[in-house]
Amino acid sequence: MRKYIATIMMIVILLFSTITASAAADSAVILINPALGSTVYSNNLLISVKITQPRTIKVRVYEEKISGSRSSVNVNSLSSVNYSNLESVPVLTVPSFKTTNNLSFYTKQINDVSPGLYRIRIDTLDSSGDITHTTNSYVIVKSKSAAADAKIFETPQSGTIQFLQNVIKTLFGN
């Protein structure tokens, strides 16, 4: 009997935790920039949030750093990052933004961001200031690309070399 009750309770707990997780996002609040899971090559970060109903939101930005050392994540070697060993360091906390329109945008620029992994958290607040919904999005920030690396005006290679390259691509793929 006790085992039966414990099993029912586990199922109920799991069920409710799933529901809580899936109700976290507010469908009227959409992060436009940076795009979900994108990489930004800049030292400035533009946050743009589209709000399609009268809402009050609060935006926070954190850098996810290595716990203990508080060093930035190596964005050039993300596969080696231990994601369970990260701590959130606040980068931006701004006053809440309230809109009474059916379409508006919250925009904010964060200057002088260094390369790393960042989390943008958007909370929807009710009239009492309590959080009703939360959205978290991650973005990778890397340094600006060097112009010298761009090969826009390089002269095309000779026909023989181009032919060999095409053969290799055909055999081994891109």
């Binding site: 743009s48 112009a147 005006f153």
Partner: protein, 492 residues
């Protein structure tokens, strides 16, 4: 008679003659209705103030990309960056001069994709609102380039990119062609120019796509602090100012003014006509002037762009001047250029005006238009404003305030904008609000701050207002700068 007495008598005779001639001359002036202003030695004439070609030819936008989509658009008030004679101040034209001094410049046509890729890096683009003959541009700015430069017929944009630091880029918008001018050795220093702009601080711009998630590369500022306020204006002339209008009319007809017919219509329009319409000046009740002159066949030869522009600049200076008829000055710039207007060989120059470094937009017509065909001015339209310079200067002392967010102006007004497009027959009926928003956002081609003269046909003093100007599909829509309330629109 003794000798001294003879001398005295001769002196008396001389004085009598002088007095007699003076009397005749005075009688001629007072009874002959001749203005003293006309009596002057050539060297005593006040020199006409004529803006130079370099002063009026300015890029509409100078876009700086500091790298990785960090943009700014240089404000009009900081146009030393385009061309400056001041020592110690670098400018785009100075860099162009340096480029022209290098040997072995190679010209090559490049693709649109190559140009757009190059401009994604640290770069600078000076964009004109019209296409002017490239050789004439070089002549006006004393830029020496080799003969092979003739492959570039027109210039619409001058560009630089850190991807190719020893090169300049030219866009010919008339023929949709891009060119790269490559020098053997590098003596330009655009990177320092861009670095100094970055260090001075700037208004940040992003493409519409970054804010709204809708495909559109038009740059829009993130936020703007400004102290622009309305100021009072009056028309160049009111219909009751007959002496002022007459004096202006006289500049067109000269000695034959006495033979000019003057017709006053019921609505207050005054028409001055010489002969059977060889020269016609129309003075409208709204304070605008329109002058038409019959083309004299074979009398003049076709002028180059630079020569025709000089003709236009001199003509305005001697017919009303570049100031209002009461002397209030608003700096002019060449706003548009039409080659061979109405199928006549020549140019139509449309000039715009600026106030305190901000462009003036007229809801009803342009400020100045001059047609120069076969070396002759055949059309001149004038819609100048008069204002109190002290009032305009006092505005610059006002404290800054935040202009309404450009992005939220679009969000707040997309339905109104869409309605205007529908009324103009430019868009089909879309009932879905999301699709309306996407459509409007994708069509916006320019957003800038300006002054709006929406003066209707009133006799009263009116105001010029600071506004947001949103351009799309050939229409300029105007919104209050601080509240984003729609004010109206006009067609470009």
């Amino acid at each position: 008679m003794s000798k001294p007495n003879q001398v005295i008598e001769q002196m008396k005779n001389a004085i009598l003659v002088v007095l007699f001639l003076s009397t005749v001359l005075l009688l001629y002036f007072f009874w002959g209705n001749v203005s003293f202003d006309k009596i002057s030695l050539p060297e005593d004439r006040i020199a006409l103030e004529i803006p130079s070609a370099q002063e009026v030819i300015k890029p509409y936008d100078i876009i700086v990309n500091f790298g990785a989509e960090n943009y700014t658009i240089i404000p009009l008030s900081n146009r030393d960056i385009w061309n400056s004679n001041k020592s110690g101040i670098n400018s785009i034209i100075k860099e162009f001069h340096k480029f022209g001094q290098t040997e072995n410049i190679k010209f090559e046509e490049i693709t649109t994709q190559q140009y757009e890729e190059a401009m994604k890096f640290q770069s600078l683009q000076a964009k004109f609102a019209y296409h002017m003959p490239f050789s004439e541009f070089c002549r006006i700015y004393d830029i020496n380039l080799p003969q092979s430069a003739n492959m570039i017929a027109y210039l619409s944009t001058v560009g630089y990119s850190s991807v190719s630091p020893d090169s300049l880029f030219i866009y010919n918008g008339r023929d949709h062609k891009y060119y790269r001018l490559v020098a053997d050795s590098g003596n330009m220093d655009f990177s320092s120019l861009i670095a100094s702009l970055e260090s001075e601080g700037y208004n940040t711009y992003y493409p519409i796509s970054s804010y709204l998630g809708i495909e559109n590369s038009t740059l829009v500022p993130l936020d703007v602090q400004t102290n622009l306020q309305s100021f009072s204006i009056q028309r160049d002339a009111y219909s009751y100012q007959k002496e002022k209008i007459n004096a202006f009319a006289e500049t067109f007809f000269g000695e034959s003014f006495d033979f000019v017919r003057k017709i006053t219509e019921e609505n207050g329009t005054i028409i001055y006509m010489y002969g059977y319409g060889q020269k016609v000046l129309i003075v409208k009740p709204d304070g605008t002037f329109e002058y038409k002159e019959e083309q004299l066949n074979g009398a003049g030869s076709q002028q180059s762009f630079a020569e025709a522009l000089d003709t236009a600049l001199e003509f305005v200076a001697s017919h009303g001047t570049w100031e209002s008829l009461d002397g209030a000055e608003l700096p002019a710039y060449l706003k548009d250029l039409t080659i061979d207007p109405d199928k006549k060989k020549g140019y139509r120059f449309t000039f715009g005006m600026e106030a305190n470094g901000i462009r003036l937009f007229n809801k009803n017509g342009e400020s100045l238009i001059v047609d120069v065909t076969q070396g002759q001015v055949t059309y001149y339209y004038r819609n100048m404003l008069d204002y109190d310079p002290q009032e305009l200067e006092s505005i610059t002392a006002a404290s800054n305030d935040s202009a309404f967010s450009a992005v939220n102006l679009i969000a707040q007004n997309y339905e109104y904008i869409y309605q205007v497009l529908k009324e103009k027959g430019l868009e089909t009926d879309l009932s879905d609000k999301n699709k309306q928003f996407e459509k409007v956002s994708s069509l916006i081609s320019n957003m800038e701050i300006g002054y709006l003269n929406s003066d209707a046909n009133t006799e009263e003093e009116s105001k010029v207002k600071p506004v947001w100007v949103v351009a799309l599909s050939g229409i300029n829509l105007y919104f209050d700068l601080y509240s984003a309330e729609p004010i109206g629109y006009s067609e470009e």
